[in-house]
């Protein structure tokens, strides 16, 4: 690279970086005045904090059994009551945040990564590449989601990684399809044509020029993937395919249902994990929703 090019390149990079920084700043600024998105971010960060500082927050070990006071309703000692083995519900909820977020975030990242790349490549190259990838998407769409997870968990090991793996295998389909249609019209835009005329490589065009415009969309579907992953973990555990040694909200619900919490009027045991799941899932949806408003001008306040 001759001297002259590098400086051009550097300037390009710096401008690109500035563009990114200010793009993100704009997004954050926008989210600030978009109440739903803001609420979502606050809730999600609160949950992340709880997950990180779980040992500090939780008064007891989540698996610490204490048969003396099993099934006690919420009281001073146990803010959210205890379950049939005398374990503190609040501590379990706090520790449960970790696997929930791990599954959620990992699924979101994998869905976003796979979906975006498939969408970008299919949309950009078109032709038979596009056909092959889109048939793959149709194949993925043809597979019913929860049954697929159950079969995988039954054949592999019942652990959160299996759930993340299964989600990564299937849920990218929506992102891919949306990104592809977006790339199709981005491809026609002048800035892409001009990039091609100055001899930029395909890879550069895709990842330097097109990708940033697609990132908000990917972020949106990533947030939906978080919600979906957490819900799936809960359902899988309920059906008895969860990993019993793990302390997750889904597993709490499963043992609550199994020990007939509702029949013994231990309402706190059954409702609290459900609430925790709902809170996390809503915050993911709200972030996604707040984002969607920003993405889609028609939705602006008229």
């Amino acid at each position: 690279m001759s001297e002259q090019n590098t400086t051009a390149l550097d300037s390009e990079i710096s401008t690109w970086r500035e563009r990114q920084v200010d793009a993100w700043r704009r997004r954050i600024a926008f989210l600030k005045q978009e109440p739903m998105g803001l609420a979502g971010i606050l809730m999600m960060s609160a949950i992340i904090l709880v997950a990180i500082f779980a040992p500090v927050i939780a008064p007891y070990e989540p698996t610490e059994t204490d048969y003396g006071n099993s099934l006690t309703p919420p009281n001073a000692e146990h803010p959210l009551g205890t379950d049939s083995a005398g374990r503190d519900i609040f501590s379990q909820l706090v520790y449960g945040a970790r696997p929930a977020l791990q599954i959620g975030l990992l699924s979101a990242i994998s869905v976003a990564f796979v979906g975006m790349n498939v969408g970008l490549i299919a949309g950009y190259y078109g032709g038979y590449v596009d056909d092959v990838l889109m048939r793959l998407v149709d194949f993925a769409y043809g597979i019913p989601f929860t049954p697929f997870i159950i079969v995988l968990v039954a054949l592999w090991e019942p652990s959160k990684w299996t759930i993340v793996g299964a989600i990564a295998l299937l849920l990218w389909r929506q992102t891919a399809r949306v990104v592809r249609s977006n790339v199709l019209n981005l491809k026609e835009k002048p800035f892409v044509k001009s990039a091609r005329t100055i001899g930029a490589s395909d890879r550069r065009i895709i990842y330097r020029h097109i990708a940033p415009n697609v990132l908000p969309l990917v972020f949106l579907y990533g947030s939906f993937a978080i919600a979906w992953a957490i819900l799936t973990e809960a359902s899988i555990s309920y059906l008895g395919f969860g990993d019993p040694t793990a302390v997750t909200w889904g597993q709490m619900l499963q043992s609550a249902q199994q020990s007939q919490a509702l029949a013994r009027d231990a309402w706190w045991w059954f409702t609290m994990p459900g609430m925790a799941i709902m809170l996390t899932v809503i915050s993911a949806f709200l972030i996604g929703r707040g984002y969607e408003e920003q993405l889609n001008p028609e939705l602006q306040e008229k």
Binding site: Y141, G142, P147, I150, V151, A234, Y238, M278, I282, F285
Partner: protein
Amino acid sequence: MGLKEFVTRRIIQIVVLYFAIATMLFFLFRAAPGDPLAAYIGTGFTQEQAAQIRATFGLDQPVHVQYWKYMTNLVTFNFGLSYITGDPVWGIIQDRIWNTLVLMGTSVILAYLIGVPIGAYLAWNRGTKRERFGVVFALISRSAPVFWTGLLGIWLFSFKLGWLPAGSMSQPGVTYTSKLAQFTSPDFLRHLILPALVQAFYFYSLPALLMRNSMLEVMNEDFVDFAELKGISDFSVMLKHAARNALLPIVTAFAVAAGFAVGGSVVLETVFAWPGLGREMVRAVISNDYPVAQATFLILAGLVLIANFLADLAYGYLDPRITYD
């Protein structure tokens, strides 16, 4: 390309996808550890008796022969024999399809009947407090796990209040002449209310939010303003022009909703002891009855594929601009 070519092309595509999924399943289950027939053979038989029974299940042939036989059988809806009972799988799951279809169908249609008007209402009240509350409530309804709401529903409406039955499809001892008679009997409908409502409550947010977004986009269109200029009442402008156009993307979403509903049957049917494909699949997977698990999975996948196809067809019918290219 006319409607005929589009339909044939899509049907071929569905058949190819169906067999592709079948192939995936075939090798997926073969990868499972252990002797699949153990559940059936158990300890009562000597070695050569066990071998003879394995032969009846066709498990002694090499894999590619098994695969070919499996695929050719699929065409005649012969899904082999259950490893637990030895009965033909098709016999077991045949009427289950109807039970799943009725439940899933009612819940998704209910979700749309509730969701679409709410979506239109939200769009029409853009910017008001009610609209914001409506959107947030829709998100809340979608973030509670279906089985959790289902169990709470049973606890409240069946255990505590005793209004509705706690699951299953009929009262003990009732005999029906035909499936249709069963599905229209009051007893069945009473059993259908709770599961259908729980699923509809979970799903209504999909059409509602989609309708809101697409209505907002349509309401910005010039032909909506023009219709008002023609002196047509606000209500019929909203209905005939705005909603009609806004419905288009909702129809394709029907396929996505149907897909997730069919998938979700696994959970919903287990909670409500509904003798459908979903519950049969969970039982089969837990008791390692692979042929039944495979067959139920395939039928669920088939239903999803058909739902996608119908949605595309409906979209083409609703939107004249589509030329099936």
